[in-house]
């Protein structure tokens, strides 16, 4: 994790990142090994220009989404008496 780069500032160009992604996905699909150098680049590429959204003290956007049971929840409905821990994850599938 780079603490010296400002939020949202890229250290790799878009084409390099795309190439890294495609190479890793290609090898994975073919059942081939991904060497540690490529994997390292992959982790850096994934996290480049990291943006973390609303800052402490700011309000988050309103929204309404359905859950795993098809039930819709608004932000207000999700709230507990003391608040909400809202977790953004990449995927539950991989």
């Amino acid at each position: 994790m780079s603490t010296s780069t400002a939020e949202g500032v890229a250290t790799m160009d878009q084409m390099t990142k795309a190439n890294i992604f495609h190479e890793v996905l290609k090898r994975r699909a073919a059942g081939e090994n991904v060497d540690s150098a490529l994997w390292n680049d992959f982790v850096i590429a994934q996290n480049d220009a990291l943006r973390t959204g609303p800052r402490v003290g700011e309000k988050v956007p309103d929204f309404a989404l359905s859950d795993q049971n098809g039930q819709e929840h608004s932000l207000q409905q999700l709230m507990g008496p003391k608040g909400l821990l809202l977790v953004f994850v990449r995927s539950a599938d991989w």
Partner: protein, 250 residues
Amino acid sequence: MRNGINVASISYDSREILDRFADQYHITYPMLSDHDSLIIRKFGILNTNVPPGTRFYGIPFPGQYLLSPDGTVRDKLFLPDYQTRPTASEILLREYGIPAADAGVTITAEDVQVRIVISDKRAFSGQRLGAAVNFKIAPGWHIYGEPLPAGYSPTSVKFDDDLVASQALEFPQPKQVKFELLGETLPVYQGEFRATGYVLFKQKLPAGEQKLTGTLNCQECNDKICKLPQSVRFQIPIKIDPYVPAAARK
């Protein structure tokens, strides 16, 4: 809900995928489906490094927000890892010191009671869990912070490195107290306080019931005498889950 705080997760997965995941891992909180990543974009955290056209396009930079009831961000935690699991969080541990009920151990060392907790009873290889150490020191006694002159032992909690790749625990600022009889001013902890941080588990750990072990070091003194420095071993049971690749789950 923990301490009046609800939990919800958001991802670009479909309802079907989330339903299966929630069943498999016994998750009872809402797992919200942001299938076109509209909310991910609205929050400004779409991962724009992922090439469009790949199945991963639409993922966010993973992280957590602790929100007050009016929707204001109170705290947030974003880590560039890639094995994030929607589980009890480091933020809750940092704020409240008490996570999953029995993912911890209490050590009573004479006049100091120490409770060491981690944020979940289960972890994947490579996962980071929150860690907290709650100290309760009997009145009249104190233990030491740093920096210390020679002859005194500071307080530390260190997890062994068989399961743990890296760790950090942040202690609060100690109080500088002048000890007349010793003629010294020393950094001390008294009463109740908490150190918080994390443990990062190693990759490729054997799955199954394991023990997260470590050592607590401290030296108890009052304003007249010091006891010998103590080194107390502890262990916390933890279940290391095998990482199941998506293909194998289908």
